[in-house]
Amino acid sequence: MSDPATAGSTTPAAELPTGSQPEVHHWWRLIAIWVILSAILDPLFYFLAGPHIPPGRMTTTAGGAQFDFNVLLVIALPVMLGVWIFMIYAVVMWRASRGGPEPQGGPAARGNLAVQAGWILTTTVIVLFLAGFGTYELVQPGGAGGGQGSSPIWTPTSKTVLPVQVIGQQWKFTYRYPTFGGFETTQLVIPNDATIAFHVTSLDVVHDFWAYQLGVKADADPSYDNVAYTTTSQLGSFTVRCDELCGIWHGAMYNTGEVVTPAQFESWATATESRLAANTKLLPSFSYTYVPDANGADGGYYPDNVDPYSKVETYGATPTKSGGSGG
């Protein structure tokens, strides 16, 4: 976190030895180089590269991540430039071979209260600003697309939320739509201009649902419902990858999803619901978590509290919670 400007402004007359040589105003040179380069590179980056920074603007959370990245880079760039300019300047100007003035030891070279205090103050201000900014950007869009566990505390403002369940298992993702009879499919289709609640869970090990262009990432933990919100704002397809090492085929655990118009989504969902109706009957009824039964450890996964070998009971565990209603 170098900031020669602050340091410089707080040490006007540095501890220059009053030798015979003309006094060189190193600080002013450094500040001039730093200000000019920062003033050129910061807007250049923000306006040229900024709009293309991943993950794009397909959803509110993706847009938020992009905006945050750009803000951080606009702050970080001058900091890095400051350190690099100083280092390059030192390497060029203060080489031993140049025969310049001998370095000065003594108390002046061992510390400078103004420089130290200025440095600490500047870095503290930057850091506290970043923490406040990050918190605002996390809370305001409803958790910024990150998994918030089974009881989210930052919820989106939208009244209607489409719940989509993401089930990770070695080594694929499947998706269930509880508002459409709970059918399960390998296709992820979501409507545009809608707030989606992804309920991410796993049947075996820890996976991570990373819908890259949506700016959504949530771990899929077994027996755990991890909720992430986002609001779509562009049509198009997006990539889904597993982002937590889940075994040997982790690298092959990806597919693509689609953001379509609400009308297209409605027709796709109802058509798929009726097409898969026969399959849906065989599935465990929709639940936010699926716990492998102690007796079914060889691969069968059943809702909790049901004996899979019972001739009487049917698979009918009720959802463990009632969040994410409406469609």
């Binding site: 990245f69 370095p103 030891g105 996390l138 809370v139 918030q148 090990v205 771990d219 933990d221």
Partner: protein, 669 residues
Amino acid sequence: MAIETTQVSEFEYRGGSLATRQPMSRRSDWLSPHAGWAVVGAVVGYLIGHWLGNVIASGYAHVQGSGQNDVATVLGLSFGVAGFMGGIGALTYPLAKMLGREPAFELPQRSWMRYFRMTGDHKVVGLQYTVGVLLFLFTGGLLAMGVRTELLSPTNHVFGPGTYIALVGEHGTIMMMMASSAVVGPIGNWLVPLMIGTRRMAYPRVEAFSFWIFIAGYMVIFTALFFGGFPTGWTGYAPLQTQASGGMDSYLVGFAVIGIGMICAGFNLAVTIINFRAPGMTWGRVPIFVWSILATCALLTLATPTLVVAGLFGVLDRTAETAFFVNEHGGSNFLWENLFWFFGHPEVYIMALPGFGIVMEIMPVFTRKPLFAYKVAAAGMIGVALLSFFVWQHHLFQSGINPDMRPLFMLTTELISIPTGFLFLVALGTLWKAKIRFDTPMLFCLGMLFNFLIGGITGVFLSDVPVDVTVHGSFFVMAHFHYTIMGGLIFALFAGLYYWIPKMTGKTMNKRLSKWHFWTFFIFFNCTFFPLFLVGLLGQPRRVFEYAPNLQTLNDISSISAYFLGASFFFFIINFIWSIYLIPHEAPVNPWGSLGLEWQTPTPVPWFNFEHIPVVLTDPYHYGEPGAPPVADLGRVLVAADGAPIRGGENGEESPEEGREFDPQPPIL
């Protein structure tokens, strides 16, 4: 190793205790404990343990069903480690004590065999660690070459996915374990006693134990490859861990074993630094490198037990059917994640802090200026060490636990960049109007600052939760921590090695080869890892063997640079062998003109380090101050009760009012 320890006979043992103590009868060299017996002990121990495991657990249906007997593997590895430590002689002293015999004290050894024994001489242990750490580093580096080879093409595969995951996990684990000892082991053990003016470590046997158990742990982790590797990467997440095959046992046992070594090394060094400083070595005069080692050792001692316990839980889950990490039996995968990262984040600073220490220690020598803001530097290390215990959940921002903790962990994580930034304040302040000498150690220091700046700033991006949603678990993270660990720690390690090898070995490294090493290392390091930031931003998760075809160019740049990066180490290896063994050039006693106490000793450093315990007069950073006092008085100086030196004791007797009690005994074993 061509080092001669000499002139032991000149040394007078004061205090009397040694004169009356007789050495235990010694066996001949080949029969007494050494590394060969350790290997024999490891093999015998493994066989016994494996047999025992089969006897105990072959009736387990679970074990039979999985085709493996984890109990046999775990017991085999544990008994193997015990056999190894017994064979090296680590148990000789406690056993002798228990039998009521007075153990033999260690005699000065000159033969090369001392490098293959347990020894209380911290200088030998330091060199053992140097070779051990480099062995780790090069093994891990070769595995990295395998990983990058697989990633040359998005869809054509060199290895199967199982082999690839095994390589990734093995690379990560070996490198992490190497990096946690990379500086503390070699340079810390070799140098700290010389820097603080003592003749020995507080616990020489514990020090030797920490090295040999480090080697044992290395071999245990390496056995994972023979059991088919482990699929979890170095983070070992449960329940994949519980599900995995036999290689996982090597991972869990290996981590626990190395963890024990890390605790021992940290404990010993911390006690030494606190209690064994020479008279006059006040906290304000302690070299900054010693501060960094002290902060690191606090972390090693306090954070590593969590890892050992987590490893034990994992072993129990796999063998004794406990359910610490098994969700459907009442455990939780979050338990492992919390335990692991509660160790894992301080671990990151275990790797970073000694690097800071080396850079801050070396820069004044080559800028010919005092260290700028010494107190800020020391405070920064302590600040980093303290804060590092309060940031671990930033690894779990998307895991689904505790969303309300996220702003807090974002704050603590960003706060840690304040004390980390002190490194740059100190470094830049030291560069200000300096007279920089661009010798190889200084080049490595400047390279470290360049790399660590990128690594540190990208860490701020990762700490910001909305940005982390995109970059978490991607190659961005991977590039970030390679910039901090490899670009930071390993650069600092080589800065330290090039700087102190003339002291450690008495030989000079070839300058031209050293500079070739630096430039190839620096350039290809950046060419390898900078593209990976972009690869991660563009959506490539870590530890995958297939990726989007549009990322092939960036991945190929990285892979090809990685080969050159690997090759750059040959400059070091060739230089080391050439300059130290083949055509050795005697190094001057103080080639860099350093004022540090360690450079005031003769080269090679005698068995006992200092003929007289030095009296430290000032801190070692009086560059550019003509007329400044020497760092220490190395002659015979008596110390009054108030700590003030009294010169010229006539009869050579030290007065009983000597301010501090120093143990004049040689390292005994």
